[in-house]
């Protein structure tokens, strides 16, 4: 069982620029621990001797049989296109000025 302590939750909150109340810290401690424990299940998979630092082996393993390793890197050719106008791209911005987003004073 993994349990996240309050300090870790506070640190992650700071890194994410989130302000949490003490109640919320406690709440997320429980929720994040649950998430980690759920993911922890992966450690029970019978992976044998697969070297995780050699991901080509990982993708070729039966665990993820639908992904083939080679020649499948989806590349894009180097062609410049702008399918949407600047106005369309920025239409949800709360505030713009001279074609740029406006953000509050940073310091």
């Amino acid at each position: 069982m993994m349990n996240i302590d309050a300090e870790t939750v506070k640190k992650v909150a700071t890194l994410s620029s989130l302000a949490l109340s003490d109640d919320e810290v406690q709440q997320y401690q429980g929720e994040l621990s649950k998430v980690l424990n759920f993911v922890e299940l992966l450690n029970n998979l019978p992976l044998g001797d697969i070297d995780v630092s050699s991901p080509a082996d990982v993708v070729a393993s039966p665990v993820t049989p639908t992904i083939s390793a080679k020649d499948k890197t989806p590349f894009r050719q180097d062609v410049a296109e702008m399918p949407l106008s600047r106005e369309a791209l920025m239409s949800n911005a709360p505030e713009t000025e001279d074609g740029a987003y406006v953000v509050p004073n940073i310091l």
Binding site: S17, P74, F75, D78, A80, G99, Y101, N105
Partner: protein, 485 residues
């Protein structure tokens, strides 16, 4: 002890992180044009704005250019590479993470040898995307601004970050290393190498230690140097600062510092320690990249000539001195002109002299690059040939070249139209020289009494009287005859 003596007690240790902006048509993960100087946000697409659901797709050309850089630096090229998210909050980063490479960079270890023989090891070179640009309103900088404007034109542009080991030992070595990388990427054609416009940037890791100490001192990372001069000045200033701290019994703090060009000093960025916790993890939006051996070989087979290869060729195939070869290599366009002109002239030394001397001088005055002038390699070659045949003197060349650069045309035609044909007529020159001798009896007497230097006076007067058109060799002979008569 004076400052110099104190500073000589310390060894400077430098490592550089060089960012090279690749000149692809589109961005690293977005179809938007990789181009600057446009209206804000004009070169953007959904990925650049991090609109919900927008998915990055890797630009094959950026990968190829990164491999070219790696091969040019003698780096190992990865067969397997992947992309990771580097997370931090800043308004110029719309996703709140930068797509970079953490544990599987595209290029592994390499090495560059400086002119003094110092080998600088390269730890790695990886691909990553650039951030956007902020304009702070209401003040000269961030300090005191009322709000900021965010422009994502640069966001997502492909960068190759080249990380060196701490192998450099002086600011001069750091500058040379940077210049060598700039020249390599320019020869490769993957970046214009313009520091002032930001297409190449570098951060320097600076530390000092007493001579003989095995461990490195604590380093500071210096940012915001945008010219070769500022790289040298920033390192010099930071080294002085660190030595002063150590000498007074203090400890250098590991931190990032901004170079302030106007104040001539580095200033702490005072960023919170935890801001450096980037929480890298593999970007699940981008599949790992498997680079086929055949792709690497195809790139290797089409690598352009590298600076050190060209330099060697200029010496070996054209008999230039190592100095001439290094200058023509350093300034790639001059070297290109030289090589093109060799198709029309075998006067290699003369071609090289014109390019490095008169032509470079004019270009500096006019603030132009040679390919922005009307001079053709063919015209330059003809000038070299005429010079070798002694039909054009250096004085005449000085009159011809500005016109050739400004308006173009072959020197043979210009000599006619500008009336610069060399004056070779012995009888005509004799009359002129006799006149000068007659007008300067004092100098003649002084010359005859042993003031040999005055010979130059008479030659100079003759050249002046002929507007520089007289054949210098003929003038030398005739002046000698006249004075010794």
């Amino acid at each position: 002890m004076n400052t110099v003596a104190i500073e000589s007690k310390y060894e400077v240790v430098l490592g550089l992180e060089v960012h090279v902006q690749l000149n692809t048509a589109s961005k690293l993960f977005s179809t938007a044009a990789n181009q600057f100087g446009s209206e804000p946000n004009q070169n953007t697409a959904v990925v650049c704005h991090a609109l919900p659901g927008a998915l990055p797709v890797l630009n094959a050309q950026a990968v190829e250019s990164a491999i070219r850089v790696g091969l040019g630096l003698g780096c190992e090229i990865a067969r397997y590479t992947k992309f990771d998210r580097k997370q931090y909050f800043y308004p110029d980063l719309p996703k709140a993470y930068q797509i970079s490479q953490f544990d599987f960079p595209i290029c592994g270890v390499g090495e560059i040898t400086l002119s003094n023989g110092r080998k600088v090891r390269i730890l790695r070179a990886h691909l990553e995307e650039d951030a956007g640009k902020l304009v702070h309103v209401g003040a000269a900088g961030l300090d005191g601004s009322t709000h900021s404007l965010v422009d994502f034109n640069r966001a997502g542009s492909p960068l190759v970050e080249i990380v060196s080991e701490p192998d450099m030992r002086s600011k001069e070595e750091a500058k040379e290393y940077m210049m060598m990388i700039r020249n390599i990427v320019r020869y490769l054609g993957v970046c214009d190498g313009n520091l002032e416009e930001g297409s190449m940037r570098c951060d320097a890791n600076v530390s000092v230690r007493p001579w003989g100490q095995a461990e490195y001192g604590t380093k500071a990372e210096i940012k915001n140097m945008n010219s070769f001069r500022s790289i040298e000045r920033a390192i010099e200033s930071e080294v002085k600062r660190q030595i002063a701290i150590v000498e007074s019994g203090g400890k250098v703090i590991q931190e990032s510092r901004l170079w302030n060009e106007a104040k001539g000093e580095t200033v702490s960025m005072r960023s919170k320690e935890e801001a450096h916790d980037y929480r890298y993890f593999p970007d699940p939006d981008i599949a790992p990249v498997h680079i086929e051996e055949s792709w690497i070989e195809a790139i290797r087979a089409t690598q352009p000539e590298l600076p050190h290869e060209r330099e060697a060729r200029l010496v070996k195939d054209f008999g230039l001195s190592e100095y001439d070869a290094s200058v023509l290599t350093e300034f790639k366009e001059l070297g290109d002109y030289f090589l093109s002109a060799t198709a029309f002239s075998r006067e290699y030394k003369i071609l090289s002299n014109y390019l490095q001397g008169d032509i470079t001088g004019i270009l500096k005055n006019e603030k132009k690059a040679i390919d922005e002038t009307a001079l053709t390699p063919e015209a330059l070659a003809e000038l070299a040939n005429l010079t070798a045949q002694k039909d054009v003197s250096s004085a005449i060349a000085k009159k011809l070249l500005p016109v050739m650069l400004e308006k173009g045309g072959l020197p043979s035609a210009l000599i006619e139209s500008l009336g610069l044909k060399q004056l070779d007529n012995v009888d005509e020159l004799k009359v002129i020289i006799a006149g000068i001798v007659a007008q300067n009896p004092d100098n003649v007497a002084a010359y005859k009494s042993g003031k040999d230097k005055l010979f130059g006076f008479f030659v100079g007067q003759t050249m002046k009287a002929t507007q520089g058109r007289a054949n210098p060799e003929t003038v030398n002979t005739l002046v000698k005859e006249a004075l010794d008569a």
